[in-house]
Assembly symmetry: C2
Homo-oligomer: 441 residues x 2
């Protein structure tokens, strides 16, 4: 089977259609078969580990020769331990409850006429990811678990690794009799563009990459996109904050992983407490290598030449780096207004001992995550206990925030009758509906 | 307050932003206040009934003078009974459970660190509807019930009616101290175009109108759209069907309301049963004024000059009228393939006494609704017991199918700790999460 090659978009449509057909078969397989497929894939990855690592070694050598940036190289590099971790992830997934076939509503509409809302797969996912080859294993196994087909587009620099991994996955699928075209690998940028146009064949696009890339995808497809382009998160230190807590949370939320989307970019501090907390906090942040930019009041309080003036652009910037803008606000309401104006609706936190202030903040701030007395860094599918994270969504409509397997399923309404027709329930002598909720098994 | 006027798009943005601000206040009001607002609106509509009906009378006279098409005129016409029905709908809504503030997940992440997923309003809805003035009452009250602001755009022919209704709604809101700008009325086509561009202020567009109009909206906005452009539904009569049931369901599904989106456009009949069922069914359909178009085998079986040959275009057409295309298929699998190829994923039905065939059909057909031995006309929010219908969605991602209040809400993750930082849970001596589900009140 072809795992990669540059294709004109019409051929890509044909391949994607094959994936859709294969996905329809996968969708109706019992839980047990999909879980056995995951086990077979784990085993095939173990069996072919040497071959996979050798392919990755070649990718890495090419990357070195071509001067790939160090962070990208680190993500590309697959060692025995990373591969083992990815394989363990596949087995973990096989033990999670099946998200497909769950009855959400079970209702009698009238005697003998019963409606059920039952979860089912979305169909075909289009996933575009960066250089990390282990992401391919995670995504393909999430798709199989949830009964979806998947068209994967990996980074060009990881082509040999992705092909080796896909070969092993295909072998695992074949062993349990699943059509291998449920998992399809693309490798060129031209194919990415063509993929975005296949709204008849692909039901959801999941882009994993830079903000600019996600925005490009959002602007160039009619297919729904799961992802977020920006992560402009805030920490607000209220006048009633426990100061040592505030300092610890600020340090964690800014420095624990500066390039993560749930890292804070702006710190807001209530004016009543700013003179007490800002000088020490500024020193602690600078000790950890954080560059600070403050508004007028912040600069007066900190009074260090190393603190630059923050401009309007700073409030709207995701630094993704060890840079933090700081603003002194007059009130909780001002903090909320600033966040609702400049935030990207990702994750927003307050530190306060005042329960009423915390409740107001959490109700009024418009974001997927609203946190009280803890770090924004907890906004994550693994930390929420979702098992595996498909992506983080900052859109308003569900799925919102960290999205697990739930984001890969939808539902259908099944109605079963005994010759029931709508005419019975309309007109002057219309029969009423019973609308009696029945139990969910 | 201004209820209508043509505005340049910058002014519209300002108005929409006021609606967003007002909606943020509405969102945090207790259930009881939002329900009292609905009661006050119902009362204000009753108080101003004479004025509202007089305004509608003027709209109707203008419409007659301008030669408005009869179906549009019928929709525009508001009499005392229709208005009473709309007011009763507002009161019904006030008695439904609050969709806002419902805890969906309640989980301990670690000792003292608790995550809750709680429902909240989307923000601001943009609703574009046709000439029916009673739709305005329904939509505005759904928005208030769910804590959302709403920008309404009614048909130009209903301008006086919409203004009179909006005045009464504003009065009701003012009586309970709610900022009247949560409900905003626009009346010109230019404003519709401008509204579609306000992705910073509007969270969901709900277009109610022709398929062409919905498609226009989908193609001209980055805001999520709740709605469906096509309703190409099928009825498949299996070889094991109860024939009298099949005939009754086919007649209901085609003729009970031919212009509805859940009406069938194509009938598929298993070849083994086609000679028995088609002649009588064709006569019954023609007796009800249905024009028939058949494939070769159908035409041979029915053998009437009045049955036209169906072309490829027929399978992909929503007639929205008393026209039905008929195809004889060789098997259940062929029926499923035809539906998955030409259907619009709205509602699809099978008539069969064979439970296994029904189960296969319902599992394999890709549609929001899959029905067994009942009419497709049951695909409707009221009939499902959702209280009120916001729209019917044929997209894959939830909300799918008939959407009630649930489609107007989203959720946020609230995490509360006691100084918890992410660093504790990472690295070589990482503390494990407890991920213990707590009860939902």
């Amino acid at each position: 089977m072809t795992t990669s090659s540059t294709l004109p978009s019409s051929s890509l449509a044909t391949l994607a259609h094959q994936t859709r057909k294969a996905a329809r078969q996968l969708a109706v397989l019992p839980t047990e078969t999909r879980d056995r497929a995951l086990e077979a894939i784990a085993l095939a990855l173990e069996t072919h580990a040497t071959e996979i690592l050798a392919a990755n070694q070649l990718d890495c050598e090419t990357a070195l020769a071509e001067g790939l940036a160090k962070p990208l190289y680190e993500r590309l590099k697959l060692n025995a331990e990373k591969l083992k971790g990815a394989i363990a992830g596949v087995r973990d997934l096989s033990r999670l409850p099946d998200p497909v076939g769950v009855t959400q509503i079970h209702r009698e509409l009238d005697a003998g006429l019963v409606m059920q809302r039952v979860t089912c797969p979305l169909g075909v996912l289009g996933v575009i990811f960066e250089s990390r080859p282990d992401a391919l294993v995670q995504i393909a196994s999430l798709a199989i678990k949830s009964g979806n087909g998947v068209v994967l587009k990996g980074g060009k620099e990881a082509i040999r690794s992705c092909e080796a991994l896909t070969r092993a996955i295909h072998q695992g699928l074949a062993q349990v009799g699943i059509d291998a075209s449920v998992v399809r690998l693309l490798t060129t940028r031209e194919e990415t563009i063509a993929l975005l146009k296949l709204d008849q064949e692909v039901d959801l696009i999941i882009p994993r990459g830079s903000n600019a890339f996600v925005r490009f995808v959002q602007d160039n497809t009619r297919i729904p996109v799961l992802g977020h382009a920006d992560g402009i998160c805030h920490l607000y230190i209220d006048q009633s904050a426990d100061l040592s807590q505030a300092v610890a949370i600020a340090l964690d939320a800014k420095t624990q992983y500066p390039s993560a989307c749930n890292t804070i970019e702006t710190l807001l501090v209530h004016q009543a407490i700013a003179p007490q907390v800002l000088p020490d906090l500024a020193t602690a942040l600078q000790d950890r290598g954080v560059e600070l930019r403050g508004d007028d009041r912040t600069c007066k309080i900190i009074n260090l030449a190393s603190v630059q003036d923050a401009t309007e652009a700073d409030w709207a910037t995701e630094y993704s780096d060890l840079v933090l803008s700081i603003k002194v606000v007059d009130s909780l309401a001002d903090a909320v207004l600033h966040i609702n104006t400049y935030g990207s609706r990702h994750t927003e936190a307050i530190v306060t001992e005042d329960r009423q202030a915390a409740a107001e903040f959490m109700a009024q701030v418009d974001a997927a995550g609203v946190f009280h007395n803890c770090s924004t860094r907890f906004a994550d599918g693994f930390r929420y206990g979702f098992g595996a994270e498909v992506g983080i969504s900052t859109q308003k409509m569900p799925p919102r925030g960290p999205v697990g397997l739930e984001g890969l399923i939808t539902y259908k309404y099944q109605v079963a009758g005994n010759g029931h027709v709508a005419a019975t329930y309309s007109g002057s002598d219309a029969k009423p509906f019973t609308h009696r909720d029945l139990g969910i098994a």
